[in-house]
C-alpha cells in the first residue's frame, strides 16, 4: 500500500523548545489515521507542519512521493491536501453555502477577465458549484441551513460546515484538527459516522484528537506523540495496550 504522506526525522523548534522532534511516520492511502497524545505533545504543531503553515526546522515531508518543503498551504491544496481547524476558521462575512463554495475554488474557472465579464463558463461553473455545495451541506447534515449566516449557527453546525468546505475541494488527504472538540457525546458519535462516510468516498483521513472513544471507534491506525516524539504507532487495540502509552497518559501505570 503506497504511502500518501511520509515524514522523516521531522523537527520543529521554537526558540529552544522542540515542539516536534525527530518524528518519522507514514500515512497509508485509504485509511483513517489518528494522531493522539497528551496536551503539549506537539499534535497541533505537527498538523501545521504537514499543512504548510509552519516550515520544518529539520527533516522532510513527502506528499505522494514529492517533497513539500517550502510549499505554502495554497500550493499544498493544489496537491490534494485539505484541513479543518481546531479554532474554527469560518468566514463570518459570507453565508454558509458561500463558505462551502469557496472550498471548491481550485476546481472553478478562476481567471480574472472571464469573471469580470461574467462569461458563460463562469456562470455555468458557479451554478455547478452551488449544486455541489448544496449536496455537501446535505451530506454533513446542514440541509436546512444552506443560506444561513454563520453568526446564527451553532458551534456543532459550524464544525460540520468547515468539514463541508474542506470536502468541496475534493482532497485526497484530509486533516481534521480536533473535530470533536466542544461536542457532546451524541454529536461526537455523529461526527464519527461522518468521518467513516468521508473515508468511504476514498479520502484518506487524518484525525488529531483528544476524544479517545472517537479515536478508537474510527481509526485504522493510531500514532501516539509525547513531547514531540513518536511514542507508539499501531492499531487502536495495540496502542491501547501499550504500557508506555498508558503511563504517558496516566503518569506511571
Amino acid at each position: 500500500m503506497k504511502a500518501v504522506l511520509e515524514c522523516r526525522e521531522l523537527t520543529k523548534s521554537f526558540g529552544g523548545v522542540d515542539a516536534v522532534a525527530d518524528l518519522s511516520f507514514s500515512i497509508e492511502r485509504g485509511h483513517i489515521h489518528s494522531i493522539i497524545g497528551p496536551n503539549g505533545a506537539g499534535k497541533t504543531t505537527l498538523i501545521n507542519l504537514l499543512t504548510g503553515i509552519y516550515t520544518p526546522t529539520q527533516g522532510s515531508i513527502r506528499l505522494a512521493d514529492r517533497d513539500t518543503r517550502g510549499l505554502a498551504p495554497y500550493e499544498l491544496a493544489r496537491r490534494g491536501l485539505g484541513r479543518t481547524f481546531q479554532n474554527l476558521q469560518v468566514c463570518m462575512n459570507m453565508s454558509a453555502i458561500e463558505n462551502v463554495m469557496v472550498g471548491r475554488h481550485l476546481r472553478l474557472n478562476r481567471r480574472f477577465i472571464p469573471a469580470l465579464l461574467r462569461l458563460k463558463s463562469v456562470r455555468a461553473g458557479d451554478r455547478d458549484c452551488r449544486e455541489r455545495a448544496t449536496e455537501l451541506m446535505r451530506f454533513v447534515g446542514l440541509a436546512d441551513q444552506i443560506d444561513a449566516q454563520p453568526s446564527e449557527m451553532s458551534y456543532g453546525a459550524l464544525k460540520r460546515l468547515e468539514l463541508a468546505r474542506a470536502l468541496a475541494a475534493e482532497p485526497e488527504l484530509l486533516f481534521l484538527d480536533e473535530p470533536a472538540a466542544g461536542l457532546n457525546a451524541n454529536e461526537t458519535h455523529a461526527i464519527g459516522v461522518l468521518i467513516r462516510e468521508v473515508a468511504a468516498r476514498g479520502v484518506t483521513v487524518v484525525l488529531v484528537e483528544h476524544d479517545m472513544k472517537l479515536v478508537m471507534a474510527v481509526s485504522d491506525n493510531v500514532l501516539v506523540l509525547n513531547y514531540g516524539r513518536r511514542l507508539a504507532q499501531g492499531t487502536p487495540t495495540q496502542v491501547q495496550n501499550d504500557p508506555e502509552v498508558v503511563s504517558a497518559y496516566l503518569g506511571g501505570a
Binding site: N48, I53, F85, Q86, N87, Q89
Partner: protein, 291 residues
C-alpha cells in the same frame, strides 16, 4: 564642516525630541489597547495653539500652558469614552477610522474656533542664540530637549515604580490576566489616552515657540511621530524615544546634505523601508497568530 554637522545634529535632536514625545504617546495607547491613535498629533496642536489662544484671552503663559494641557487631556478622555469605548469592537480597521475621524474633528474644531492663522508662542527664556561647538542653538531648543528628557525620566519612574504605572504595563502584556487581579482595562485605557494627550500637549507647548503652531500642525507631526514609533518598534517606549531622535536626525541630515526639498519625504521613505524590511522596528517584538 564640523560646525555644520553640529548644527544639523542639534536641529535634528530638537525636532527628534518632539517626535519622541509623540511616539511615546502612540506607544502608551498602543500598549494598552493595540489601537493606533491617529489623533495623537492633534494633542500636540492643542498644546501649542491652545496655549497661544489662552494667552490671548489674558492668561499668563504658565497658566495658559497648563490650561492647554488640561484641554488636550479632556479631549483624549472624551475620545476614549465617547468613541473608542462606544464602538465596542476590537477590529483594527474600524478603530483606525474612528481615530482618523477624531483627528479630523479636533482639527476642524480648532480651525473653526481658533482660525487658520499661524501663531507663535513666546520663547520661555528669550531668543538669544547660544553658541555651542560652532553651532547656534536657540534657548527654546534646549527647553525642548530638556523637557523631553525630564518627561521620559518621569515616565520611566511612573511605569517602573508606581502601582498605576505597573498596572498599565500589566494590561499591555496580558489584559485578561490583569483583569483577573482586579485591574480594570477600561480605566487603564482611559488613563492611557489622558497620559498620551498630556504628553502630546506638553511637547506641543514646548515646541511651539520654535516651530510655530496652527490648526493643522498636528497632521505631519502625528504622522512623523507614528513613523518614529514604528521605526523604534511599536510598543516599545525605549524604541519610541530612540526612533524619534533618530528620525529627527535623519531628517536634519537629509535636509542639510542631500536635498532640503525632500526633507518631508524622509519619514515616509523610512516607514516604508522599515515596514518592508524590519516591521518590528529596532526594539519591538512580533506576535504570531495561533491557528
Amino acid at each position: 564642516m564640523f560646525a555644520e554637522f553640529m548644527q544639523y545634529l542639534f536641529s535634528g535632536l530638537t525636532a527628534g525630541s518632539t517626535y519622541a514625545l509623540v511616539a511615546l504617546g502612540f506607544t502608551i495607547i498602543y500598549n494598552a489597547s493595540h489601537i493606533i491613535n491617529f489623533a495623537q498629533g492633534e494633542f500636540l496642536m492643542i498644546g501649542g495653539l491652545g496655549s497661544v489662544m489662552l494667552m490671548q484671552y489674558g492668561l499668563p503663559m504658565p497658566l495658559a500652558i497648563i490650561g492647554a494641557i488640561a484641554l488636550a487631556v479632556a479631549a483624549g478622555i472624551l475620545i476614549e469614552k465617547l468613541a473608542i469605548e462606544r464602538a465596542g469592537t476590537n477590529d483594527i480597521v474600524p478603530l483606525i477610522i474612528i481615530t482618523i475621524g477624531a483627528s479630523l474633528f479636533l482639527r476642524g474644531g480648532a480651525q473653526f474656533f481658533w482660525g487658520k492663522s499661524i501663531h507663535a508662542l513666546p520663547a520661555f527664556t528669550g531668543n538669544t542664540p547660544i553658541h555651542v561647538a560652532g553651532a547656534t542653538i536657540l534657548p527654546q531648543s534646549l527647553w525642548v530637549l530638556g523637557v523631553g528628557a525630564i518627561v521620559v525620566c518621569l515616565l520611566a519612574w511612573f511605569f517602573k515604580r508606581t502601582l498605576i504605572g505597573k498596572a498599565m504595563l500589566a494590561v499591555s502584556h496580558n489584559p485578561n490576566a490583569a483583569r483577573l487581579v482586579g485591574i480594570n482595562p477600561r480605566f487603564i485605557l482611559m488613563l492611557s489616552f489622558a497620559l498620551a494627550a498630556a504628553l502630546g500637549a506638553i511637547a506641543g507647548a514646548v515646541a511651539a515657540p520654535v516651530t510655530l503652531t496652527a490648526y493643522d500642525v498636528g497632521v505631519m507631526l502625528g504622522l512623523k511621530g507614528f513613523v518614529a514609533a514604528v521605526l523604534g518598534g511599536l510598543g516599545s517606549p525605549l524604541g519610541a524615544v530612540a526612533g524619534g531622535l533618530l528620525l529627527g536626525i535623519m531628517e536634519a541630515f537629509t535636509a542639510g546634505y542631500i536635498s532640503s526639498e525632500y526633507k518631508d519625504a524622509v519619514p515616509f521613505v523610512i516607514v516604508l523601508l522599515v515596514l518592508f524590511l524590519m516591521p518590528s522596528g529596532l526594539f519591538g517584538s512580533r506576535a504570531t497568530e495561533r491557528v
